[in-house]
């Protein structure tokens, strides 16, 4: 699964009426963690472990661009679940569950979080709904037979789990370095199959459960001062801020 989000280099602005952030005319890209997910899937195919890679996105018609990027990286085909509705993680997890039932993948790889809502929920929710084991924040994935061994980034270090397939994995930053898409591959991606479905086709109610009452600017930090040298810095920290 891939998500179309505001490009990570863009500094978003909160709308003055407090209804959200202004994303009109802002550069959009594939969520960086999802690029890592697609890359990992394509590498599994290149190693002969996976036979087919399907990319999925849920959202408005423009998500087609994101799916074309996924296919340019190497996904074989794509499915768009098209809706104009606001999609929250639980709704996306239900849509993905319906697609998992339909397509029966051995492995579902998602990004660990999207950089817009910062929720970090969808993979875990999908695993729960599909009753599959999960390995989140993966930094290494090795498939052998009907098991997958996953090294995870946890607080304080790493841990390794063994899951029975089928399973759900979410990617952390250090899992891989996604490849750049090349022009010939972008051209080839245009010819690959992209199916479009509606949430109703999958029998999923996507009504948002959480209501956003308002979106505001975070509190601004007061402007600081520049100190001329190390002695002045130490003096300020000792006598003004009293933190050392």
């Amino acid at each position: 699964p891939v998500k179309r989000v505001v490009d990570y280099n863009v500094k978003v602005r909160v709308k003055s009426d407090g209804t959200g952030v202004d994303i009109a005319n802002v550069k959009m890209s594939m969520n960086p963690f999802d690029e890592i997910a697609i890359e990992e899937a394509v590498r599994l195919k290149e190693k002969g472990v996976a036979s087919e890679v399907i990319a999925v996105s849920c959202g408005d018609a423009k998500c087609q661009e994101t799916l074309r990027t996924a296919m340019a990286i190497g996904a074989d085909r794509a499915i768009l679940v098209e809706t104009e509705a606001e999609l929250q993680p639980l709704a996306v997890a239900k849509l993905l569950k319906a697609l998992v039932d339909k397509e029966q993948p051995a492995l579902v790889i998602l990004g660990k979080q999207a950089i817009d809502d910062d929720a970090n929920q969808t993979g875990q929710m999908l695993a729960a709904l599909a009753d599959l084991p999960q390995a989140t924040f993966a930094s290494k994935v090795e498939v052998s037979g009907d098991k997958v061994s996953v090294t995870r980034e946890v607080d304080g270090g790493l841990e390794t789990l063994s899951l029975s397939l089928p399973a759900v994995i979410t990617t952390d930053l250090r899992l891989n370095e996604p490849r750049y898409v090349t022009l010939p591959n972008i051209m080839k991606a245009k010819k690959k199959a992209l199916d479009t479905l509606k949430p109703e086709d999958l029998g999923v109610d996507v009504t948002p459960r959480l209501k956003t009452l308002k979106v505001s600017e975070p509190p601004k930090r007061g402007a600081g001062i520049k100190v001329p040298d190390v002695a002045a810095l130490i003096d300020k920290l000792k006598n003004e801020a009293k933190v050392i």
Binding site: V6, Y8, K11, V12, V14, V21, L90, A93, K112, I115, D116, D118, N120, Q121, T122, Q124, M125, A127, A128, P133, Q134, T136, S139, S149, R152, E153, V154, D155, G156, G157, L158, E159, T160, S162, L163, S164, A167, L173, R174, P208, R209, L210, K211, T212, L213, K214, V215, E217, P218, R221, G224, I225, K226, V227, V230, L233, L237, A241, V243, I244
Partner: protein
């Protein structure tokens, strides 16, 4: 209705993040229960009973709960979820792993990384790497929440005397198993709990320089060590030192950023620090826009001078 906090622990002791989560729980309701699910976790349950404000500790014991596997712990939480109006996890690697699994099984939306409890059904949480704060309201029967620990003061670890009640452990799902772990050993304060953090960026140039320049300053200040994503990706520091949107979120008394430009991703992890010091030779670096004290200087001479 009561409020349930899922304690984070290593079976012997409680993790500090549990204390901040208890404070958030007390803002949701006064009858706060703690679940300690583990194996040979009597020590953690005893510690949980001491926390001020906790009314009851539920202790579930089973070998399958030893390593906090999401499948098993989520099933354990689900078994008792019916008694609670709110279920809170700390927003740590462990809490983030398990909480959404419980939420989906309860068919409720999860509210991630809350920084404030406005009312029992309304919460504040940062979005877009902390560049906006969303106030969200939940109409679900159970509020399933993860708590950004830097948003809440820790509850007192002593002074409470809650009864410990044994709760039946749910069976191992058998779908996943723990193979092993490599936890970095460190005598330093834990990054997310440290009062002072010294953090290094790509400008250090190498792992050797990172150790040579940053470590003595951290030793001198009794500080935890942090790093920017660029420094981690370049191999100067281990990845669990990473401060930022995709790493640790910290809010120490003093944060010293050395050779860090201050990308949005990094600022999201540290801009709630009380005092921020930036040492960078580029006076246009964005880090200076959030620093209380900025020193435009070559870090290779300024930092050793500070140590003296």
């Amino acid at each position: 209705m009561s409020v349930l906090v899922i304690a984070e622990h290593d079976n012997a002791t409680l993790k500090g993040a549990t204390l901040n989560t208890v404070t958030a729980a007390l803002a949701c309701g006064s009858d706060v229960h703690l679940l300690v699910a583990g194996h040979n976790a009597g020590g953690a349950a005893q510690a949980a009973a001491q926390i001020a404000g906790v009314a009851k500790v539920l202790h579930a014991e089973a070998p399958g709960l030893e390593h906090g596997l999401a499948e098993n712990v989520a099933a354990q939480v689900l078994a008792i979820a019916g008694n609670y109006s709110h279920i809170l996890f700390p927003a740590t690697a462990s809490g983030k792993n398990i909480a959404p699994r419980v939420a989906a099984m309860l068919d409720v939306a999860q509210i991630s990384d809350i920084t404030k409890v406005v009312s029992p059904d309304t919460f504040e949480r940062p979005i877009y790497a902390g560049n906006a704060i969303a106030t969200v309201q939940s109409s679900d029967g159970v509020k399933l929440i993860t708590v950004r620990t830097t948003g809440f003061d820790p509850a007192a670890a002593t002074g409470g005397s809650a009864p410990i009640e044994t709760t039946a452990a749910t069976p191992d799902t058998g779908k996943s198993s723990f193979v092993g772990s490599e936890i970095a050993k460190s005598d330093r304060p834990e990054l997310t709990a440290a009062k002072i953090i010294v953090s290094g960026g790509r400008a250090l140039g190498s792992k050797e320089k990172f150790d040579e320049i940053i470590t003595p300053l951290a030793d001198k200040l009794g500080a935890a060590l942090g790093a920017s994503r660029a420094a981690v990706d370049a191999g100067y520091a281990p990845n669990d030192w990473q401060v930022g949107q995709t790493g640790k979120i910290v809010a120490p008394q003093l944060y010293v950023a050395v050779g860090i430009s201050g990308a949005i991703q990094h600022l999201a992890g540290m801009k709630d620090s009380k005092v921020i010091v930036a040492i960078n030779k580029d006076e246009e670096a964005p880090i200076f826009s959030v620093a209380d004290y900025g020193l435009v200087a070559d870090l290779f001479s300024a930092v050793p001078e500070m140590v003296q």
